[in-house]
Amino acid sequence: MLYAVLCYNDEAVTSAWSKQEDEMVMGRLMKVQEKVARQGRLGPVARLVPTTAATTLRKTRDEPIVIDGPFAETKEQLLGFYMVDMPSLDAALDFARELAAANPGVGSYEIRPVGYFAQNGIDT
């Protein structure tokens, strides 16, 4: 089963990290993903630019309206996601647990089964 592991945290806190702290956290998270990658279970990984750079297109009955900012103003923002191929929800939860352990502070990981996934291809 493909799972998306969505990473949420308070942006105000993560953007208060110093460069060193940020690099340290990313380094620790990298170690967690490497293990899964070696097992051939890791799909795309993305870290999103802060929601202050987000634009939202909201569907209305008429013309959709475009507004500044993220989809919803909440305490915790979606910061990024992992796609993993895991045999069970428990296995996906284990992966998320390891990420949580590597990442200081609060925040949460939401595990969502992926219903449709197209590999496609973008050159980055």
Partner: protein, 424 residues
């Protein structure tokens, strides 16, 4: 380590909100700062034990307010409030503070705090020092290091600044729409000033001053969270992000400044650039141009060019023209001349800057650009005069060294030319 790191990050990100709300409550900067410090001390004791509060800023405001009241009462020899053991169980009280301080209150509190720091009575250097101390919470030692002055001198500068605004009267009423816009513009200018202090440093100082750029970006992020639909704030943050992305490429190992077209573009930081580009794209959609947006758009065009020769100079020329209209200044025209030289050649650019000679007669970059254009036209003797003048006006050793490089090349060319003439 995680507790410690997380608590410190939470305290520093909650600081502007907490200090500014406490300021509204106590109407005195020193009392507000002391109350915040006290709340932080209690947080360091309580949070590892009781777990992080739902809203760190609200917790700090609540505890800080009680601590401040406590201190005020102690000074008046009155009864103290309940001790912190009772205060650390804040669930109900915290929720009500959160409700009351929602959104708009926070926004005006923080804007007021920042606005106080850029009081027009204060010289720019004091504004910056005050903002870094009070809003960002840098220590006096950190600020002193960034400004390359002694700690005692910086302490004095900050105390003097506080004294000045203390007497000036702080506006506590909720600002109207026009006033809010004026405050925001003044605050944006101050944030840009902080950034420039860091950005215009030369190599030897760059490491000590880089935190100023980072603090300015942090303040920019704070502003944009408070005013998420202000295109000029998007422009300001975009500008700072894109400029700062080039930090590692701006100086060579010898400490000499490296011009944009000679920089190793692989050293530019892609994440900062992509955030900046996203912000400027978003800002432009509003069709309310402003000086920060235009400057950010120019920086974005440079950032989008994979190689110097890919740079969209005609578009840059257009953007500088609109900046001339928004903010007429000979310096803007001088910058446009560089774009013009790329499109129409050095002679056209020289025509553009000749009329600026009077107003820029003391400006290093004027003579640097002029010398460069003359050199491209082969008018080497005149170029040398301009470069000599530039060296005399150089503010830093790196600037002077850069121009000296041009002079050396001129001399070498002159030598080659005479050898060729001799041979023929």
């Amino acid at each position: 380590m995680t507790d410690q790191v997380w608590i410190e990050a939470a305290l520093s990100s909650a600081r502007p909100q907490a200090v500014s709300a406490l300021l509204r409550y106590f109407r005195d900067l020193d009392t507000a700062e002391e109350a915040y410090q006290e709340a932080c001390l209690r947080a360091l004791k309580s949070w590892p034990k009781n777990g992080p509060p739902r809203d760190p800023a609200a917790w700090l405001i609540f505890v800080g307010r009680n601590a401040g009241v406590d201190a005020v009462r102690r000074n008046k020899r009155l009864t103290a409030l309940p001790d912190e053991e009772k205060l650390s169980d804040l669930d109900d009280a915290e929720a009500s503070v959160v409700e009351r301080l929602d959104g708009a209150d926070y926004r005006d509190d923080i804007l007021r705090l920042l606005f106080i720091c850029c009081h027009p009575d204060l010289p720019a250097t004091q504004q910056i020092a005050l903002a870094l101390r009070i809003v960002s919470g840098l220590s006096v030692r950190q600020i002193a290091r960034a400004f390359l002055v002694s700690e005692a001198a910086m302490e004095q500068r900050i105390t003097r600044a506080k004294g000045r605004i203390g007497g000036a009267g702080v506006p506590f009423e909720t600002p109207g729409a026009v006033e809010r816009a004026e405050r925001l513009a003044a605050v944006a200018a101050m944030v840009y000033l902080v950034f420039n202090e860091g950005y215009s440093a030369e190599a030897a100082e760059a490491r000590a001053r880089a935190p100023l750029c980072e603090e300015a970006i942090r303040l920019g992020r704070l502003l944009i969270r408070l005013f998420p639909t202000e295109p000029e704030i998007m422009g300001l943050l975009a500008l700072m992000l894109i400029q700062h992305a080039r930090a590692d490429a701006r100086f060579g190992g010898d400490g000499n400044a490296i011009l944009l077209e000679d920089q190793d573009r692989s050293l530019w930081k892609a994440p900062l650039i992509s955030e900046g580009l996203a912000l400027i794209d978003k800002a432009m959609r509003h069709r309310r141009p402003g000086a920060y947006q235009v400057q950010a758009a120019i920086a974005a065009l440079h950032a989008r060019a994979a190689r110097p020769e890919d740079t969209d100079w005609p578009q840059i020329d257009l953007l500088y023209r609109s900046l001339e209209a928004l903010q007429p200044s000979p310096v803007v025209t001088l910058n446009r001349a560089v774009a013009v030289s790329k499109i129409a050649g050095p002679a056209a650019a020289l025509d553009l800057i000749e009329p600026l000679a009077d107003r820029l007669s003391g400006y290093f970059y004027f003579f640097g650009v002029k010398g460069n254009l003359l050199m491209q036209l082969g008018r080497n003797a005149e170029a040398r005069v301009a470069f000599d003048r530039a060296i005399a006006l150089a503010n830093t050793a790196a600037e002077a060294a850069h121009i000296r490089g041009h002079l050396d090349r001129l001399m070498a060319d002159a030598g080659k030319a005479s050898v060729q003439r001799g041979a023929s």
